[in-house]
């Protein structure tokens, strides 16, 4: 299944998820709150997490009832809530190439709007879903917060552990990709094997997604990603291309990188080309791409217990799509 076929198949589903969200959000009373949340939800986004839940449910024989779409949207709410709070935390001025909500409405309103979406997401998870589904989502959110703290620690300590890098990824991105897959299985009444397989698919896919994201941070086209090149390096984030270079480089280059990581963000911004060249020379980028590819292989392999059908083909297609995305 190529990218265009995949999108053609998913587009009507994305529209139904959007419809469910618009209907639900019509219950918001305050017009400013409604505007902020509308901006957070409908300013782009590919509905990856809700789609994963629906596809996982389908794969386990579940029907796409209106409740399934409502449960699916709770993942988009949670994702949007975390982006709203992230942009406040990072003082981000842009999101998907447009002014961030905090730039338009200020931090206070956006923190509150994130809280609203967070509450709504969990309420839907535990009522339209079940206590078991709520527990999965609660654990994923707790992991996200823990991962943010771990990441801050790896930046502060210039931590060179690849294990910690993947632990951050598993919490920050993996948990919110694996949990819709797992919830789809639970919602469809899947057995334990199926649930585990979909969890493993989601976990590996989420890691691959984030490894590619970290690659795009160094190699992406700013016009497509909407982010400046080398932003992670400037912030001192210890991502895989950099970690691999630190491990592989000769002493002189390693020392140079470590000195830059101990210097100011301004200094790192000036020297981004130097860092880029050292990473390239030590195969940091190709190593990260190889790793992403093997993670996608792992994700796809986890689905081998399921019979071949459209849902499975779509989930496999999404895996391949992760590797080719440019933003």
């Amino acid at each position: 299944m190529n990218r265009d076929e995949l999108l053609a198949l998913l587009k009507p589903e994305m529209a139904k998820i959007d419809e469910a969200m618009a209907e639900d959000l019509a219950g918001i009373v305050d017009p400013t709150l409604h505007k902020i949340i509308h901006h957070g939800i409908f300013n782009g986004g590919k509905r990856v997490r809700p789609l994963l839940m629906l596809l996982a449910a389908n794969l386990c024989g579940g029907q796409r009832t209106s409740d399934a779409y409502r449960l699916a949207m709770s993942f988009e709410y949670l994702h949007a809530a975390s982006l709203l709070h992230d942009d406040v935390i990072d003082h981000a001025e842009q999101r998907r190439g447009k002014p961030s909500a905090n730039t338009i409405w200020g931090n206070s309103n956006v923190i509150l709007a994130g809280d609203y979406l967070h509450t709504r997401s969990m309420t839907i998870a535990g009522t339209v879903g079940s206590p078991e589904i709520l527990a999965v989502i609660g654990k994923a959110t707790a992991s996200m917060v823990e991962a943010e703290f771990l990441q801050a620690k790896t930046v502060a300590e210039i931590d060179r552990s690849v294990d910690n890098y993947f632990a951050v990824l598993a919490g920050k991105t993996g948990a919110l990709i694996s949990s819709p897959c797992e919830v789809g299985a639970l919602y469809a009444g899947a057995d334990e094997n199926q649930r585990q397989a979909l969890h493993d698919y989601g976990q590996a896919l989420g890691l691959a997604f984030q490894v590619i994201d970290d690659l795009l941070d160094y190699q992406g086209d700013p016009a497509k990603t909407g982010k400046a090149v080398g932003n992670d390096f400037q912030e001192g984030k210890m991502t895989l291309p950099l970690l691999h270079a630190l491990d592989q480089a000769e002493d002189a280059d390693r020392t140079l990188l470590l000195d830059l990581l101990a210097a100011s963000p301004e200094k790192r911004k000036e020297e981004i080309a130097t860092a880029h060249a050292i990473i390239e020379a030590n195969n940091g980028f190709s190593h990260a791409r190889d790793k992403a590819e093997s993670l996608v292989d792992e994700a796809c392999a986890a689905l081998r217990i399921f019979p071949d059908n459209e849902a499975k083909m779509t989930l496999l297609g999404l895996g391949r799509y992760v590797l080719t995305r440019q933003k």
Copy 2:
């Protein structure tokens, strides 16, 4: 039941709630996250919301199992989460006379710690509790956010509506006082009448609590409240003493107040004594106190359907305590 008798009765319960929280929070991995949340939870606080849930459950014949304490603590988590986010939003430097968490660990960490407590609270509500209990809490949290936006609107528009004042109170404070009362009833398997009575008790008690809070803002002893006198007026908050004065004052005094409300916060800070005198002369403070007393009467009256027992006496005692509190 006087204040000392009430506290003696509640102290062992408060200790058990604290124990349940300390045990649960030991599951946090990151030491910084643990410190922030510990600070947010254990830096004072009277556990009013968990106690209300336990007492309401008792009144309806429920037993105090360890699960009851766990469900009760979810209300303290939600309360603490909202205080953490509030202090970031208000740039508060102090909380209960000590440095606020945001002053110590910065806004970003505190936003995330609030998110963690929020998630944990709702997960417990929907797993230790039930989907129905989760829905009550989800609705309360959504009301809190809506009320923050309504309050911002009343400040911006110098809104003189007493109805809007009480709508803000109902969302900001009432919902998180009435929901533990209602949840206690639900948890004990109470009938619809009992549930409604406890909801009404909590709603009226929450309003009374906040009216007294608004009075203390003008009349409290800063050494006890930990807040500067007249803070609400400085921020342009339209609270009951001020609203009553605006309604009752002669034209000249009303115009003076309205001009101050349209002026800068600095100007209002300078002129707080003027505002205080006009409110006093127009019985704004005594009116607010009368209103709080009649709300407590209303709260106590809602409990008349229950037989007299220790839980009921304690809930009635809490009502009276609200009127005498000085911080």
